[in-house]
Symmetry: C2
Amino acid sequence: MLAFSAEHTPDGKANGIAWRNSDLMTRTTLTSHIRRSQLKGIEAKDHVFVEGDQKSHVYQVETGAVCLYTVLPDGRRHVIDFAFGGDIVNLDAGPVEVYNAQALIPTRVRCLPQTALRRLAEREPEMAIRIYEAIAEELSSTRAHLVSVARHSATERVVTFLLSMSRRNRIHDRDPQTIDLPMSRGDIADYLGLTIETVSRTFSKLKSAGLIEIDQCTSLRLVDIAALKAIADGEALA
Amino acid sequence: MLAFSAEHTPDGKANGIAWRNSDLMTRTTLTSHIRRSQLKGIEAKDHVFVEGDQKSHVYQVETGAVCLYTVLPDGRRHVIDFAFGGDIVNLDAGPVEVYNAQALIPTRVRCLPQTALRRLAEREPEMAIRIYEAIAEELSSTRAHLVSVARHSATERVVTFLLSMSRRNRIHDRDPQTIDLPMSRGDIADYLGLTIETVSRTFSKLKSAGLIEIDQCTSLRLVDIAALKAIADGEALA
DNA sequence: CGGCCTTTTGATCCTCTTCAATGGTGGTGG
DNA sequence: CCACCACCATTGAAGAGGATCAAAAGGCCG
């Protein structure tokens, strides 16, 4: 995925230890630099950038939610990732944007010019390594998602998605059982490689199985996380 | 994917230009450093490393072919990528191996100790940026593969795979029409998220459509690359 | 209250999987 | 040197899961 939490890995374990036997306490972070850069507000449905744009900034989502997607030659859409508060977007190499970034809800992002990031990386090797670690973490979660899409059933994919949202909550000290879904069913479908109907049906199935509760379609509760984890690992309800 | 060509992007275009306005001619390369490191021979079916190993080296395949894969909790296998001559393997962050690397045929790899790479990155910011670019390139091709698996039919996936092998040939100045397949049908299936039978059937279908020729199952010829490209883009034979 | 959009639900179809059998190839040992 | 065996690839038939087509229900805003 293109978004990740700079300070945490998805499972909360330390990452990139091979690089990190230097001073942990005074460790330079990407986030600490980005926090000082310019804040920008984006309306819901507006784009932060679109495919083909000259690449100018690296962004960190402050509040809100962003959907990263590409449109295939035949018109089908694929959602690469969702980015929420704390996630850094657009660390990829290359001179032009290769995907679109659209705010799902009113969103504020920090904008760090790429030239500034480049200077940082050249001056401080530590910083270059941070960037490397960040993108390595992205690669790792993209791979995990690929496995899920390539090998898991519709139910497993949806559950895996819900659990990843839950884990994100835990990392940010929010309730892991209450899941906020600022994206549409279509966005989720395009993220998981399914159709809207299948996503909706799967939610309904999980609901009638008593594993989740749905009040509005933009918010739900995970009732039995242990059971959901079992499903994600392919143990039932395949 | 975890493997990539350090000096070329998949489509042969320059990559990471945003970082690269410094001296192109005297540009340090990862490969130039790795070339000086120790050479190691691996028998067919032997592992270069396995999941859980303490991470020790970064490898560059000299000759041969390597299959990178993980085994899911339920026993299913997923092939992350294949690595061939020139490809660098194991640039990921983290202290332990998170996947397996198995030689498909007799293979020789260069082994650069991670500690050496770390020192390089700390001494030369240029080098850290090279590593960053390399892994960014990996992320990019993993994303492309994800799109293929999530949104493409079996035929489209197989054709996309064949075309990526063809492109690799072109980059290394070999015949783009003659495809060598050192991996088994099962490996291809686990790479594309399909079954052995579907991969085999798809090959047969492409063959009887006159688009490819198969002499042995380890080698085939792309007869009509233009038509195959059309299929990969979802224009026919879906 | 009415219209539009998103979500949900239903019925049918199709692709890929699964199960099963045959065919081919390479390696080994008689 | 050839026969046998094991493994891999191919082909066939049946079945399942998700897509597609179609329609109804729920929100949201005017």
